[in-house]
Symmetry: C2
Subunit: 208 residues, 2 copies
DNA sequence: ATTTTTCTGTTGCATAAGCAACAAAAACAT
DNA sequence: ATGTTTTTGTTGCTTATGCAACAGAAAAAT
């Protein structure tokens, strides 16, 4: 039995008492990552950022989450002393549970749990795909290649040479881990050299 | 029931006929990524690289796999036209199966398959951790921060300020997506400024 | 409706990091 | 044992990219 995320949540909510749903206002801290707890969260609405402070105090937005995305410390066991927390970017609703609870809860060996654990693997696989996409872009050698790589993905996903960015240009620079002004400059060059057309946050690819 | 990778493989081999084991010599192509097949592979011995050629012909080593690591197209559904394949770096033994087969094979609802699909999620989670580690390093802003970030992780994993690199310096530059000579220069500076001691591929951290 | 904040767009300057090219050392192969 | 290939280590030159600083546009808040 194959579920999409909405069915998954509906089934889960109907069947399980162990999960908690909470609401957050903009800028509130949703969770702080504590490895041993093995918490897993689903963002039901709104958007949130995974923020890292390293030992020198530098801040990075490591990931940006939107509707139906998974996050939590099970996904992020990195051997460093960095502080990691998730902060609401807009008002959010979040579902909390423990990974181990989800997997092993039912003593009665119910069908529902079988379905659940099968689908969990699929959702985690979706996450892997997101991460691999990001790595694919981060490993490109120049700002130009990063931008064009990202645009190509959006173009293919939209079945169109024209598409609108899913987040602000400021966030895009952060996602690609490049300086925003350097990115804007490169976008200008791409426009001048006839590779792209740009109207605010709507882009059209002009090549190939 | 919680399995480690070796137990997992033993159980799988004993119980499942649907899986294939093959051997490869150095530089042979182990698999080419074809999204619809949803293949999943486990590297039993040796080491291999996931290689990407983009449309301009640039080659990148996207990932490097060693014993017991998972790879395959289920993990890498990126919407681009890039050619992706896995190439043996040394002689390798590889286990092949389809993700969907693994999850749904048994009609008889056997206990073994229940255990299997639970553990599959865990193995995929390990993969997520690896990917997040890589992203953590790739998003650092300077070569120095990337190197020190990587060294810090190794140091923590080894419970020691002294450790040996798990692969060559050439590969390290590739893993961090930086120019090798620039990395060597930075290592020299780090030595001169007293941050590290370096003896071949053995590093000692001198700070904090 | 007006203020405040965030986002976009731009530019000059400094430098970190890429590129190219080479030699010595080490690892591998015959 | 000897030749071949890969890895390490280095350095001069060039340039892509980061940084700082600013102004106008857009969005959000009051």
């Amino acid at each position: 039995m194959k579920l999409d995320m909405n069915q998954f949540l509906f089934e889960f909510e109907k069947n399980c008492s162990k999960l908690q749903k909470k609401s957050f206002k903009k800028d509130e801290i949703i969770t702080t990552y504590i490895a041993k707890r093995r918490q897993i969260c689903i963002l039901l609405s709104g958007s949130a950022d995974l923020v890292r402070y390293d030992s020198s105090g530098n801040k990075t937005i490591v990931e940006h989450f939107t509707k139906n995305e998974l996050f939590g410390e099970v996904f992020y066991i990195v051997a460093t002393n960095n502080e990691l927390f998730v902060k609401a970017r807009q008002a959010c609703e979040v579902l909390f549970f423990s990974y181990d609870t989800l997997k092993h809860k039912c003593k009665q060996n119910c069908d529902f749990h079988q379905v659940l654990s099968e689908n969990l693997a699929d959702f985690i696989l979706d996450k892997v795909t997101l991460l691999n996409t990001r790595i694919e872009l981060l490993t490109k050698r120049s700002i130009r290649d990063k931008i064009l790589g990202f645009f190509t993905i959006l173009s293919i996903r939209n079945f169109s040479k024209t598409f609108t960015l899913p987040f602000s240009l400021t966030d895009l620079a952060d996602y690609l881990s490049i300086d925003r002004s350097a990115m804007m400059r490169e976008l200008k060059y791409l426009r001048e050299e006839g590779f792209i057309k740009k109207n605010g946050n709507t882009i059209t690819l002009l090549y190939k």
